[in-house]
C-alpha cells in the first residue's frame, strides 16, 4: 500500500491554496465596492442624529468623501497654472477632460482595508462601537462552526445509514420509506421544520428548550433542523451509489469468495460509493456553516449568521466585510480540502 503522502504532493496543495488568494481578493474587493454603493449608511436611524454629531461621525469614518473621485475641470480654467493647481488640490491626474483622483475615499479606504486585512485586523464595528470585529467573530464563529459541524456529521450518519439500507433492500418497503423521507426532508424549508419542532417539543411537550445556545440540550432542535435537508440528499446519493456498485463484478467475485454480506456491503459497495459523497462534502460543510443564519435567527443562537444579517441591514461596513472574509475563506478552504481528500480516496485521480 502506498503512503497517501506520496499521492498528495505538497506542491499541489500549495498551488490550490495560492489560487484561493485571488478568488478571496476578488470577493473582498467586490463586496467592499458594492457595499459602499448601497444606499443608506451606518448612522441612519429612525430618529435622525443631530446634524453636527452625524457630520463628526462621518468624518471620523471618512464617509464624507466622494466615492468616485472624478472631477471635471471648470470650463474657464484654461491656464496651465490653474490646471496644475486644480490637479494638486484634488490629488488628481487628467484623462482627457476628466480628472481622476487617486486620493478619493474609495481607493484609500479599500487599500487601507486590505493593508489592515494582511495584518489580520478586521477593524472596529460601527454599531457596537469600541468592539473589534475580530472579537465579535472570535465569539460568534465557533458557535456557527459547532452548529454546522454537528449538523454535518448528523446528516452524514443518518444519510449514509438510510441510503445503504435502502440500496441493500432495493424496492422493499424500507427503500420506499427512505425515498419518501428523503423527498420530504429535501422539500421542508428550515423555518417550517423549526416552527413545527418548537411547537411540538418545546411548547407542547416541553422537553427541549425552544431557543438559545447554552448546552447540549439546546443543540438538539437546531442541529436536527439544519441536518434534515442534507441528510435526505446524502441518503439519495448513497443509495444510488451503493445500488450501482452492488451490480459490479467485484461484488460478485467477493460473494463467490464467500466474503460475508456485511463486509461486502460496508467494505466493498459502500467504499466504492464514497466518491460523490466526498465531492459534495466540501460545499455542504461550507453551506451548513455559512448558511445557518435562518436557524440562528429562529432559535436565537448567538452565531455569526445572525450578526451578518443585522450587520448588512445596519450597514455596519467593517462587520459585514469581516464576516464576508471569514465566510469566503471557509468556502474556499472547504473546496480545496475536498479536492485533496478526493485524491486520497480515489487513486485514479491525479492530485
Amino acid at each position: 500500500m502506498t503512503n497517501i503522502f506520496d499521492k498528495i504532493s505538497l506542491g499541489y496543495i500549495g498551488y490550490r491554496l495560492l489560487w484561493g488568494v485571488p478568488v478571496l481578493l476578488a470577493v473582498v474587493i467586490t463586496s467592499f465596492i458594492v457595499l459602499r454603493f448601497t444606499p443608506g449608511g451606518p448612522f441612519d436611524r429612525e430618529k435622525p442624529l443631530p446634524p453636527n454629531i452625524l457630520k463628526n461621525l462621518r468624518t471620523q469614518y471618512r464617509l464624507d468623501r466622494p466615492m468616485l473621485p472624478v472631477y471635471t475641470m471648470p470650463k474657464d480654467a484654461r491656464e496651465k497654472e490653474e490646471i496644475l493647481a486644480f490637479e494638486e488640490k484634488h490629488g488628481a491626474f487628467a484623462i482627457g477632460p476628466v480628472h481622476v483622483s487617486l486620493g478619493g475615499a474609495l481607493q484609500t479606504q479599500l487599500f487601507s482595508y486590505l493593508g489592515q486585512l494582511l495584518k489580520g485586523d478586521l477593524g472596529v464595528s460601527m454599531k457596537f462601537t469600541q468592539v473589534s470585529v475580530n472579537d465579535i467573530i472570535k465569539r460568534t464563529f465557533p458557535v456557527s462552526l459547532l452548529l454546522g459541524l454537528l449538523a454535518f456529521f448528523l446528516a452524514f450518519l443518518i444519510g449514509i445509514a438510510l441510503g445503504t439500507a435502502a440500496a441493500y433492500y432495493q424496492d422493499s418497503w424500507l427503500d420506499r420509506a427512505v425515498m419518501l423521507f428523503s423527498a420530504f426532508g429535501f422539500s421542508m424549508p428550515n423555518f417550517v421544520l423549526a416552527a413545527g419542532l418548537i411547537f411540538l417539543f418545546s411548547l407542547k411537550a416541553q422537553l427541549l428548550p425552544p431557543a438559545l445556545w447554552e448546552g447540549p440540550l439546546y443543540w438538539v432542535l437546531p442541529v436536527v433542523t439544519l441536518a434534515l435537508a442534507p441528510a435526505s440528499y446524502i441518503a439519495r446519493l448513497t443509495r444510488s451509489g451503493v445500488i450501482e456498485s452492488l451490480h459490479e463484478d467485484f461484488i460478485r467475485t467477493a460473494r463467490a469468495k464467500g466474503v460475508n454480506e456485511r463486509m461486502i456491503l460496508l467494505k466493498h459497495a459502500l467504499a466504492n460509493a464514497l466518491g460523490p459523497l466526498v465531492t459534495i462534502g466540501g460545499p455542504m460543510l461550507a453551506m451548513l456553516v455559512t448558511g445557518s443564519f435562518i436557524i440562528e435567527l429562529v432559535f436565537a443562537i448567538p452565531g455569526m449568521g445572525r450578526y451578518f444579517v443585522t450587520a448588512v441591514i445596519d450597514r455596519d461596513y467593517p462587520l459585514v466585510m469581516g464576516v464576508t472574509v471569514v465566510y469566503a475563506s471557509f468556502i474556499v478552504i472547504a473546496n480545496i480540502a475536498v479536492d485533496v481528500l478526493y485524491g486520497i480516496i480515489d487513486p485514479r485521480v491525479e492530485v
Binding site: A26, F184, S187, F191, I294, V309, V312, T324, Y327, A328
Partner: protein, 283 residues
Amino acid sequence: MEHISTGYWGQVADRFKKNRVAMFFMGIILFIIVAAILAPVLAPYSEEAQNADALLQGISSQHWFGTDQLGRDLLSRTLYGARVSMKVAIITSLIAMFFGTALGAISGYVGGRFDNVAMRIVDVLYSFPDLLLIIIISVVIGQGVVGIIVSLSLVSWITVARVVRGEVISIKTRPFVEAAKALGFKPARILFREILPHAIAPIIVTLTFRIPSVILAESTLSFIGLGLQPPASSWGVLASSGWKALTFYPHLILFPAGAIFITILAFNVVGDGLRDAMDVKAK
C-alpha cells in the same frame, strides 16, 4: 392493446405517465397554478377585508383556514399568496434559465480562454455569500416583487450555467456536430440549432428543480423580513406573521407553511419523475 408512442418525447410522456406518484404531484402543481390564477374567483373573502368580530378564529365553516389578528380570512390570503409566490418563482426561474443557458452554452462551446475566465468568475460568485448579494440588491431596487425577482435571478443563473456548460462540452465532440462544422455552418447556428436541442432534457429538469429552490429562497427571506414586505403577501410573509403567534394560534403558520412545503415537494417529485422519464443522469 397498449399504445406505444414513438419518438423520444412520446416515450418520455409514456414513461412519465406510468409514474403514479409523479402524476399525482403534477396534478397538485396544476391545482396550485389554477388556484393562483383563479384566486379572485375562488377566495370567499377579499384579501384585505378585515372583520373586527372575527379576530384570530380557528378553523370553521365560515373560515376554513381561520382568521388572523385583523380578522382577515386566511384561506383567501393563502390563495392570493399563491399568486405572489408562484409569480416570483416562475419568472425568476425563467430569467435564470435564459441567462444561465446562454452564458453556459457559449462558455462551453467557445472554450479556451473565454471559458477559463468565465469559470473563474463563477468561482468568485460561488465564494460570495448569497445573502449579502440578495440583501444589497433588495435594498437598491426595493423590497418589492421586482427587487426579489432580480436578486434571486442573479444568484440562480450560476447553477443553470454550470449544467448547460457541462452538457454542451460533452455534446460538442459528437459526430453530428463535426458534420455541421464540415458543412460550414456558422458557430451560432451550430450552438443554438444543433447542440442546444440535444441538451433540452437536462435544461427542462434543471428548470423544474429551480422553481422549488426559488420558492424556498423567497419564503425564507420573507420569513425573516428581508424579502417581500406586507402588504405584498407571499406565503413566506404570511408564515412570518404566523410565527409570531406560534404559541397560541398555530393555525396562522400551519396553512401558509403547509402550502410552501407541499408546493416545493410537488415540484421536487415531478422533477425527479421528469429526470427518470427523460433519462437524464446528473442533476
